[in-house]
Symmetry: C2
Subunit: 460 residues, 2 copies
């Protein structure tokens, strides 16, 4: 192989799937099973410490569904995997023709709530499973984590700095996207800046300082190039000595009518050092110099730093946010909830595996609010049931065509900010938050009881 | 945006970088700093429970270095970020022209050992940092985790099943690649199968079973399509009842001269259930039916299952391996270790930031073996120092050209197997393994003492 990204193309995403999707589909095809079915994509339970989920990834899901197809190269590879010719001929003309309902990106959601509901001939609905899970898992995991970090920063800027340890190229891009959705000010990832029109930020690394014999020479060199927007990294040798030199350089800039932007701390006791550095800068009248902190930060460290009075104006948050290091996934699944029987009627379906019970039937989620507009509770109901409250799922795709105006990234970010502002504070505690109430409707409860009885009684 | 992968192209990887790499390079350029420098890529410390690292990702690094360039679109975007025209003109003709030494993929390595050593004009060496870290971080993190899982399975097959919760598209591909390097038998990821020629595996999902009114109808339908290689998922309703039906279907297949491949368990107490299912199948003479287990597995669960005598023939391992869930990154860094001073001589460099000290100078790693061929210890030495032992770093790139025969994936896998077989067993314990000895050479120790003295004394 003399190329390293050659397979990461949209046209190859049909094969970006678990092999069992294809074997199941081959068997559906072989057994002439073409009737429609409905699948729910949802998250079974909250990761530790999380008390809500910030949904993201729908745009990529819809663009995938619209474009999924099999190429000649794919069919030739699948032939080698022993699929028979009639099924390969079916795949040659494959197109996703289903209907999709989904929650808009940037919406706060909770466990067991359907986030994407796919109704399509069962082969089509089954074949797209892996891509949908992969896309929503990453983006929802990271958006949720990033919103916690932004929340902990209490209005101070947070910039996503994790590119070097995020999981590969697509993750580097998507983490920038969903951190921005969650309220970060921007990213260090330049390609994400170009791709998504997200603000990009950067300062300097230790290597820049170390490439000069004296630290102050490095500062002067950088300030020469960026006289009005330098942020100097001051901890390469000794932060206080570094801050002194940054102050010297900022005075030199002042004499040229310019201003140093900030200093960055990347190691040590950020609480103590930031206070000392602030004092040093203030004593020299350099009130305008911002203190930027980075280095192994997450929502817990930021909350602690701010609680203890750290004098930090902005946070660069990397690895722990960009990989959601304490829990790098959500328990996301895609489950059959109804299928059409021979009668031509849809029949609700549920699964009884130990600890893995699912909700049957085609469903909608309703959100109820207090008088002040804050979220009070959600109810998961059957789609045809009459329930007050605001329905969260909207129809986004009909017969394989997107019938939804894809919002801009800034609109999604605004949705997230609005949604987060309406979630009562107690649910936003970093640890020990109470459980947001999600109830099942009466009709759904009745259906579940009926199916449980049937499943445990009958010879399935 | 009406496309979802449009930016994931090789030609865009120059911008897959932290913004500060570009600001630093602009300042190097502005200050006419073109002299060569050397950077080491290494891992600072072991993640919890890990006692070695399995190095992976070099192939993509070399292909990136060979191809990195800036397009017209990139330059126009960077112009909007206020870079000046002379620097943009420099980028227009940018090409990586450096020398690279690296450890071959599949080699076991330890903290602080240089894994990739880049010597190039400082702008070039700096600009490529982020991509190198991102690529090696993901692959080494996963290869290391997967090798632990394979080791825990004690010769039973392990298949990588995590695509749905791996971090995006590139991760889905790279996890399949480095799980295979680490000894997995294959992956569920069909595109990885096509792309890397890795064996692909798949069974069926609960949805397939649930789409039929009766479980046995689902089994019969699947066995009809794949009469000689069906693995039936038997836990949708009740595993023992499911096993009974699988036995019935396998007897039906026998009458047609075919054989059921296996049954899969995906929930519940795998130890107890696997024993019951094995007994049930054996009592019917179905010794040939394999038991395949999946569901929230990692190296610890697999070790426990096997220790307690679970009757499992193969493991499908997903999320926890594919995200390295207990530690989804390694503490990987890329640090300046020498730079050319005005004198024209290279001068070794080290950093003193709290807890972040680096090793100065151009280095080589030597591995020492016991008489039986097993690894005894490593020594990190200066590159021009005379040391016995096998040098690990080989020259892979000269003046920007790859001068190394990129091994095939199977060759890398063989290197990993060989390397793992030579690591004494005590270092492969899943927890509490002793620390493999990595020493610094005498000359390196002397250099460090000299530089520490200089750095703490002088006005840096």
């Amino acid at each position: 192989m003399n190329s390293f990204l050659v397979f990461l193309k949209e046209e190859n995403m049909s094969l970006f799937t678990d092999f069992y999707e294809l074997t199941m589909c081959a068997s559906y095809f072989d057994n002439k099973k073409f009737e429609p079915a409905t699948f729910d994509l949802f998250i079974r339970r909250l990761p530790a410490n999380r008390s809500y989920l910030l949904f993201a990834g729908l745009e990529q899901v819809l663009l995938f569904l619209k474009s999924v197809k099999f190429t000649v190269e794919h069919l030739s590879y699948l032939k080698k995997q022993d699929f028979d010719q009639p099924f390969l001929d079916y795949l040659r003309n494959f197109k996703f023709t289903g209907d999709v309902w989904a929650v808009p990106e940037g919406t706060l959601v909770f466990p067991c709530e359907p986030l994407i509901r796919v109704t399509a001939p069962i082969i089509e609905a089954q074949l797209v499973e892996t891509f949908l899970l992969n896309t929503v898992n990453l983006q929802t995991t990271i958006a949720t984590k990033a919103s916690r970090v932004v929340n902990a920063a209490k209005g101070k800027a947070v910039v996503e700095f994790g590119l070097r340890r995020e999981h590969g190229i697509d993750a580097g891009m998507k983490v920038a996207r969903c951190s921005y959705i969650a309220g970060c000010q921007g990213t260090s990832n330049v390609l994400a800046g170009l791709s998504y029109d997200i603000p990009i930020f950067g300062t300097m690394a230790h290597s820049f300082v170390m490439s000069y014999e004296k630290e102050i020479d490095a500062f002067r060199a950088f300030a020469k190039t960026f006289p009005n927007k330098s942020t100097l990294l001051i901890d390469t040798y000794d932060d206080i000595a570094g801050a002194e030199k940054a102050a010297t350089v900022s005075k030199e800039l002042e004499r040229k009518g310019c201003r140093l932007g900030g200093v960055r701390l990347d190691s040590g006791d950020l609480m103590k050092i930031s206070k000392k550095v602030r004092k040093l800068l203030d004593e020299k009248g350099l009130y305008y110099i911002k203190i930027f902190a980075s280095g192994d930060l997450d929502e817990f460290k930021i909350a602690e730093l701010l609680k203890e009075g750290a004098r930090i104006d902005a946070f660069g948050v990397g690895t722990k946010m960009g990989t959601s290091a304490d829990k790098p996934y959500v328990d996301i699944i895609y489950k059959l909830c109804e299928t059409m029987r021979e009668s031509g009627n849809f029949s609700p379906i549920m699964k009884l595996s130990e600890g893995k019970i699912t909700l049957p039937g085609r469903k909608q989620v309703y959100r109820f609010k207090y008088k002040d507009g804050n979220f009070a509770k959600d109810i998961i109901a059957l789609a045809d049931e009459k329930v007050k409250g605001k329905p969260l799922l909207v129809k986004v795709m009909e017969k394989g065509e997107i019938i939804y105006d894809l919002p801009s990234l800034d609109e999604i970010r605004a949705t997230a900010a609005e949604s987060l502002s309406k979630l009562p504070e107690r649910y936003k505690q970093l640890t020990g938050a109470p459980t947001y109430p999600v109830e099942l409707s009466q009709d759904l409860e009745i259906l579940i009881r009926k199916l449980k009885k049937k499943l445990t009684k009958k010879d399935f």
